[in-house]
Every structure is written in C-alpha cells, then in structure tokens.
C-alpha cells in the first residue's frame, strides 16, 4: 500500500508527512509529527480527548482522515501557549484545580478555546454546552466550567 504525501499547517508551522491510507489525524499528529498533546481516549468520538481545531473549528482528530487536512490549519494544545506564558485558559485551569489526572485536559482546553474564540463572554450554560463532548472522570466538571468562566472574565479585564 503506497503512502500519501500530506502537507498542512501545524500550530502555525508547515508540516509535511507521509501517511498510510486511512490514517487518522490523531495518529498523524502523535506518531508522525510527535505532538503528544492530543490524547487517544476512545477512538469512537465519545470522549473528546483528541479534540483539535481545524481552520479554527473544533474537530475530533481520531475521527478525521488525516489527508482531509491537506492545506488546512491544525491547532493543538501545543500551539496555544503565548510565548513563554501559559494561555489564559491554561492558567485558569491550573488556578481552579480543573485538572486532576490531566488526560481530558488537552481536549477540554481546545473545546474551551473554540468557544472563547467566537464567544469571548459565554454564559455558564454555553460553557456546559461547549464541553459537552468532552468526558472528565475526575473533576465532576464544576472546576472546569469555573475555570473557563474565569478565563473569559480575565480576558475581559485585560
């Protein structure tokens, strides 16, 4: 089976890899590019641990055929820090104890970023809806919701 050449933008940088037919974007990112921030949870679209932004839109990397991102921009958690500083969402997650085991955190942060990018001042209900595709088995969600709301509030103050 021949490999397919694939080029896309990965966190603002050009990436070029060769993928086997049927390779999903999560495998491409983790095993071929070495970006370990998106996690493999269920492989079924049920957990959200592999959430990434494709052209700014929230997608599940494990259900995305890698070659469909050719020429597009893929953003993962690895790309959201601002220089040496944590992204306000990352800071808020740390401050509000929104991560325990941390496995859902990259997906949660990307889902939260997708929300704040288009709705900088969301209501609590909108935050709940925005992370509804992401499963967390540790926190009970409340600290995560509070962290997203706090990040939105800190942005508004800044």
């Amino acid at each position: 089976m021949s490999k397919t050449a694939l080029q896309f933008r990965h966190n603002g940088r050009d990436a070029a890899i060769f993928v086997d037919g049927g390779t999903n974007l999560l495998v491409a990112l983790r095993e071929l590019i070495g970006d370990m921030t998106p996690k493999f949870g269920c492989g079924q679209g049920g957990c959200g641990a592999c959430s990434v932004l494709i052209d700014g839109e929230l997608h599940l990397a494990c259900l995305t055929l890698a070659e469909t991102v050719a020429g597009r921009s893929v953003e993962t958690l690895d790309g959201i820090k601002e220089g040496p500083n944590l992204h306000p969402l990352q800071r808020a997650f740390a401050d509000h104890f929104a991560a325990q085991c941390g496995y859902c955190t990259p997906g949660m942060l990307m889902a939260a970023k997708a929300l704040l990018d288009r709705n900088p001042q969301p209501s609590r209900a909108e935050v709940v809806e925005a992370i509804s595709g992401n499963i967390c088995r540790c926190t009970g969600y409340e600290p995560i919701i509070n962290a997203v709301l706090a990040a939105a509030a800190s942005r508004a103050r800044a």
Partner: protein, 272 residues
C-alpha cells in the same frame, strides 16, 4: 490495516467507485466510517470521498428545503431558515461531532444514534440517491427499510417540506445525561392542525426498532381529531404498537416501552 483512499470531484464518479467495490465505504464526516476503522473493521478496504460542492449546499429559502448530504449539523444550526431542524441538530453529539457529522451519514447511524433521521422521517423527507447507473428519489421510509442494502449507492441530498407552523413539528430526545448522550428514545411529531383538527399526523420514533420507525397506530389515534387530552392519551397508549426496542447500556426494552407513552404525551401537550 491501511486502506485505499479514493477522492473524486463528482458524486457520479464516487457512486460508480462505490458500486464496483464491495469493500468500499463512503466517508462523510468520519463519525461512522473512521470509527469503524479505529475499531479494526476489516470489511472496509477502500474509502471513497467526493469533493462535490453540491453535497454541501443548503436550499432553504422556499417552502420546500433541500439539504446536501454533506451538510454538517453545525451548518444547519447556522441557517436561520432551517429553524425547525435546530432542535434535532442540537441534540446530536457535542460541538466537535456537530462540526463533523453530516445529514447523509446520520441516515446510516445505528441506534442509539441517528436522531436527525427520526426528524426527517416525521417530516416525510425524500432522499436523493446516486447509484452507479443514475440518480433517483426515494421516500425516506423505503430508504430506511433497505438502508443496510444500500451498498453501491451514494446519498446526495434530502428534501422535505417546511412544517406549516412552529407548533406543527415537535421533537424530543430522551438521554440519560445532559446536554449530550445517546438516545434512550427519540420522538419527532408532525401534527399540523387545520380548523381545529389534526390533519396528516406523522410520528417517528428512534431507538424503538433497528431503524427509525413510524408509530402508525398513534398517528391513527390523532388523525382528524382535536389535539386535546383524550386524543393525546389515545395516541400515547398506542405509541409502542409495532415497535421492537432492544436492551442496551442506556435502557432496557421494557423501560423504553414504558417511557414512550409518557414522553409522547408531554411532547404533544407542550409540556417540558
């Protein structure tokens, strides 16, 4: 195991590629086919894609709406003219799944998924299908009865009439967790009222049979009558007739039968 990916610019070419290869599956949003590949489904040897713009078109200006098979639920939610479909679209997945999952793929989603199709069944939609030898239009009921034998053809679009009023089309999905979750049962009801009486009732149920089904006995109980408490009670008591729900992790067949009447009654009487 690697598979072959074939991408075409037209739906006709994609359909002919599908019809000439038993191991070929069409890739829409990926939420079904990529999931199958992740689970190691060896029946898939070829993935077929089409970049045809027609698949992503929405024509919703008039009384009859046509939605391309590749339109995602997020796109439906962004279209004001498709307001009557917002409740079913919003009931599917989380934001990422709604950015990916498509109207065409939902027609093939097994229980406890496929909620949008339940809505389309109540709306008496028509499915435009492209086969290896040309295109045809199929009523949704006929389509669903043979959906597992649709190999070799490709859904192009779905078409339905807009409901007469916002009250004439109602939708409810019962899940164990909110706001997201697989369907315990899904109900869509088209109940147009003309001079005080229900005319042309169509009720569709999800997760109550292998594919979405109509509740014909309950429809008969509504037809030609006022939508009052006694009519609704009669419809509710007939709603499980002809259904064959199964036990799964979300609910037992017994539980589904028990709650179907309750939720139909609440839906028709406008209770939350």
């Amino acid at each position: 195991m690697p598979v072959t990916v074939r991408t075409f610019t037209s739906t006709a070419e994609a359909a002919s590629a599908l019809s000439s290869d038993r191991g070929a599956r069409y890739l829409g949003g990926g939420t079904l086919v990529m999931r199958a590949l992740n689970e190691g489904d060896i029946s898939i040897s070829t993935i077929v894609r089409a970049n045809d713009h027609a698949l992503r078109r929405i024509d919703a200006a008039g009384p009859r709406v046509t939605i391309g098979a590749g339109v995602t639920f997020a796109k439906i939610l962004a279209e004001r003219d498709l307001g009557f479909l917002h409740a079913p679209a919003r009931s599917i997945g989380g934001p990422a799944v709604r950015n990916m999952g498509t109207v065409g793929g939902n027609l093939f989603a097994p229980n406890p998924y496929g909620d949008f199709t339940v809505a389309l069944l109540a709306l008496d939609a028509t499915i435009a299908v492209q086969g290896g030898f040309g295109a045809r239009e199929v009523p949704i009921e006929e389509f669903l009865q043979s959906r597992d034998r649709q190999a070799g053809s490709l859904v192009i679009s779905v078409t339905c009439q807009k409901p007469a009023s916002s009250d004439a089309f109602r939708y409810r999905k019962v899940t164990r967790i909110r706001p997201k979750g697989g369907s315990v049962i899904t109900i869509a009801a088209q109940v147009p009222v003309s001079s005080g009486r229900v005319l042309g009732a169509r009720l569709a149920l999800g997760s109550m049979a292998p594919a979405p089904v109509r509740a014909r006995a309950a429809e008969r109980a509504l037809e030609g009558r006022q939508l009052d408490a006694s009519t609704i009670a009669a419809a509710a008591s007939a709603v499980t007739e002809g259904t064959s729900p199964v036990d799964d992790a979300l609910g037992s067949a017994w539980y589904r039968r028990e709650i179907a009447a309750v939720h139909l009654r609440r839906l028709l009487s406008g209770q939350e």
